[in-house]
Amino acid sequence: MIDPATFKQFQITGKVLTDHKYNTSHSGNISMRAGGKILIKRRGAMLGYLEPEDIIETDLYNTDSGIMLSSTETDVHRQIYLNTDAMAIIHAHNPFCVILSLIEDEITCLDAEGIYMYRKIPIIEVDNPAGPIDAAREVPKVLKNYPVVVVRGHGAFAKGNTLFDALQNITGAEQSAMIRYHIMLTGKPLKRDYSKEKFFSEW
């Protein structure tokens, strides 16, 4: 059984994601590395209303029978942990990132915090965006160098040192996407496009 303090981090993270309307009632998943294991949300549990029974422990290195209970995207989380420096991961279907992923090839941040934190958020495309197999192969490659990546038409994966760090990254990415989307809606030119400066293209 998960300890109360760790569970509280899951509970708060799930609640924030739900309050921000990043997911449907049951979608999205969050996890953390813990002593050679992954603690991850149970499949079918609601992120906004997590109970201790909803956090499933599964092996970090190999698929085990925890897969019968753990999130559908457990394999994506596992491959991210095995191939990047992630200690915690959040996956959400945050709408502005999804919208931009359907019309752009990357999300260039236009707002100050986005520029400071991410500069740009990569978008990748996979053959089967709804299943975990392609994402498990492609997402870790990008997260080696970026804190957040968006799978076209699906949603974002954010990593962090802690759950709250990953939470900051996914909310930050969504904030930047929302600002960019609304700027695009105005149809007006930017007074100053920071993305054209300071070697953005090389990032």
Binding site: R42, G44, A45, S65, L69, D75, N128, I133
Partner: protein
């Protein structure tokens, strides 16, 4: 009906005559095939009070519109008979390839009645669409299942598909199975004894070539591609069951404090104990390969080798019933016991559960046999053999847990409903599942309404396992869905990946007309109620829709289901209302009218 042969092959063993009768489309439209067709034929033909081990009790094997098609996991087929364990109508189903071969011989059902005379033993051979023979089986009688199949294949060709009984069925053991290619089984309910009572050793199918044209082949292929894609990306089907077989459930069910140990006296094993018998450990120690049925990409079957013996399995339920339920956590002993049950043609679950019952009697001093002490894995195989051969105390155990316990006035130690032993989920840990144990038409069954899927595995969505309101409604839906799956016939495991609407879409393409989910649920409801009507005529009612007192009165003391008992009365009241049954569990006239079925005379 499209996708079916519209023919039943009848074999009367008493007269040794065979005949073919036609089935009306109306019957198939209302009952589909498989379990539904079997239940319809059975209830039409079997009079009240038939002794299950008499020649008047038929064995009805049947396939469905999905059998032999490209629908994923469509290799299963059904059996309906009256159970010598429960005295209820009884359906069972099995995978593999026999059903596919049978359908290709041009039949939808095989109705076996009578009994071979003068103590002659025989086996039936269905050879293509023209030849049906009853051959002598004196030389096979007494053989275990693997040897039987080997001998029959020598005679009938290596491509012959064989259903057979082992010595347990021959000896009319009430917990015997009909084995399908030695390791798959028509399990539960003692159906092997029914076959044994007819002096029938085996049923062989071969050389079928019948094809089933689909009007819109391309549509069928597209649907199949979408279905297979979903099965491939769903972790339970593509990883959990594929990597660890059904034993993937060992750790999961223990995690929720529902893993029954020592005849349900405890429901939680220590981490070391559970690790030693987990699906992971089975894979690590003994797995040689995995195996699937016809047109299955899940491949949950286990080909195993312990270093001393090779065989197949154990499945989750077998691993549990021959292990922790008996206080045994030695994986090799459990695996060998599983092989032996398959060889003798014994139902692993009821065999383990009956021995567990005996062990609790021994624990309480009601029997003295030290080989029946909890944890005694060394004597397990001996006791299995005694049951199959009805030797010594095995003759008493061969009657199943309830009859055995009654003999010692100790029914409270028999963990059964209507005579059939419970499966590997303590009902105190999942109330919807508990309700299904109580009301299932074939006794304490886990398959006819597997609410563990929703209550534990979160499929399709998680529901509080201890909630009461709404559970009856959900069970109503699941039971009807299960009846349909058993009639199409398709494996229940695809339900983890595919919504029920897939079944409706596949059937619509096969039939060339639209069938929706609501239509299918009504068919399932019709089948379920026809089974209930049969049981009601046999004298079953509310008094039988119950659970052993342990689950109603004794609080669990450890694990995450601690402090729980099953609130059965609340659940049952709602269930009868949802089912439109009266206060003692009898279907109301208005329901029968809606479903176009009649009370049985």
């Amino acid at each position: 009906m499209e996708g079916m042969n519209n023919q039943i092959l009848e074999v009367n063993l008493t007269t040794e005559k065979t005949s073919v009768s036609l089935i009306d489309d109306e019957v198939l439209n209302n009952y589909l095939g498989g379990r539904g067709l079997g239940v319809k034929l059975f209830t039409e033909n079997v009079p009240k009070g038939v002794d299950p081990l008499s020649e008047k009790n038929p064995l009805i094997f049947s396939i469905g519109p999905f059998t032999s098609s490209i629908v994923p996991t469509s290799g299963r087929f059904s059996l309906v008979t009256k159970s010598p364990l429960t005295n209820t109508i009884f359906h069972s189903n099995s995978g593999g390839f026999w059903g596919v071969y049978f359908k290709r011989c041009g039949y939808d059902g095989l109705y076996i009645s009578g009994k071979l005379k003068d103590d002659n033993k025989g086996y039936i051979v269905i050879d293509g669409t023209k030849i049906v023979e009853i051959k002598d089986a004196d030389h096979l009688w007494g053989l275990k299942t693997v040897k039987t199949i080997e001998k029959i294949k020598e005679l009938e060709g290596k491509n012959a598909q064989v259903l057979c009984i082992g010595p347990a069925g021959e000896n009319q053991v009430r917990i015997s199975s009909i084995m399908n290619q030695a390791h798959r089984a028509f399990g539960r309910g003692g159906v092997g004894a029914v076959m044994g009572s007819k002096n029938l050793k085996a049923i062989v199918v071969k050389n079928g070539t019948q094809k089933f044209p689909i009007k819109d082949k391309e549509h069928m292929k597209r649907l199949s591609v979408v279905a297979i894609d979903k099965i491939k990306v769903t972790p339970i089907t593509s990883q959990g069951l594929a990597l660890f077989g059904t034993a993937a459930l060992v750790k999961i069910i223990n995690l929720f404090g529902m893993f029954p140990i020592r005849n349900f006296q405890s429901t939680y094993a220590t981490p070391d104990q559970i690790d030693s018998i987990s699906g992971e450990k089975l894979r690590e120690r003994f797995l040689e390969d995995s195996e699937g049925c016809y047109n299955c990409i899940i491949k949950c079957g286990r080909l195993t080798n312990t270093g001393e013996m090779r065989g197949k399995g154990p499945e989750y339920e077998s691993l549990w019933s021959l292990g922790p339920l008996l206080g045994i956590f030695d994986l090799k002993e459990i695996t060998h016991a599983n092989y032996l049950c398959n060889e003798y043609g014994l139902d692993t679950m009821s065999t383990g559960a009956t021995i567990a019952c005996a062990m609790e009697l021994q624990q309480n001093g009601l029997i003295k046999d030290r080989s029946l002490a909890f944890g005694n894995g060394k004597s397990l195989c001996d006791n299995i053999e005694k049951i199959a051969l009805r030797r010594g105390i095995g003759n008493e155990l061969a009657e199943g847990s309830l009859r055995f316990a009654k003999k010692y006035s100790a029914e409270r130690y028999a963990m059964q409903v209507k005579g059939m032993e419970l499966a590997a989920y303590d009902p105190r840990g999942a109330f919807g599942h508990a309700l299904n144990y109580a009301v299932s038409s074939r006794g304490a069954c886990h398959l006819t309404g597997f609410l563990v899927a929703s209550e534990v595995l979160g499929v399709p969505k998680l529901i509080d396992r201890f909630s009461i309101k709404g559970k009856s409604d959900l069970l109503f839906l699941k039971q009807n869905q299960s009846a349909v799956e058993d009639s199409l016939v398709v494996c229940k495991f695809v339900g983890y990946a595919l919504g029920f609407e897939f079944q409706a879409r596949f059937l619509s393409v096969i039939l060339g007309k639209e069938i929706n989910v609501t239509d299918l649920i009504t068919i399932g409801e019709r089948i379920y109620n026809l089974e209930r009507l049969f049981n009601v005529r046999e004298g079953f009612s509310k008094k039988d829709d119950t659970l052993p007192s342990r689950f109603l009165e004794t609080l669990l003391e450890e694990g995450s289901s601690k402090g729980r008992v099953v609130p059965l009365n609340h659940l049952l009241q709602d269930f009868y209302k949802v089912r439109e049954w009266n206060e003692i569990g009898i279907p109301k006239d208005s329901l029968l009218k809606r479903l176009s079925i009649e009370r049985l005379k």
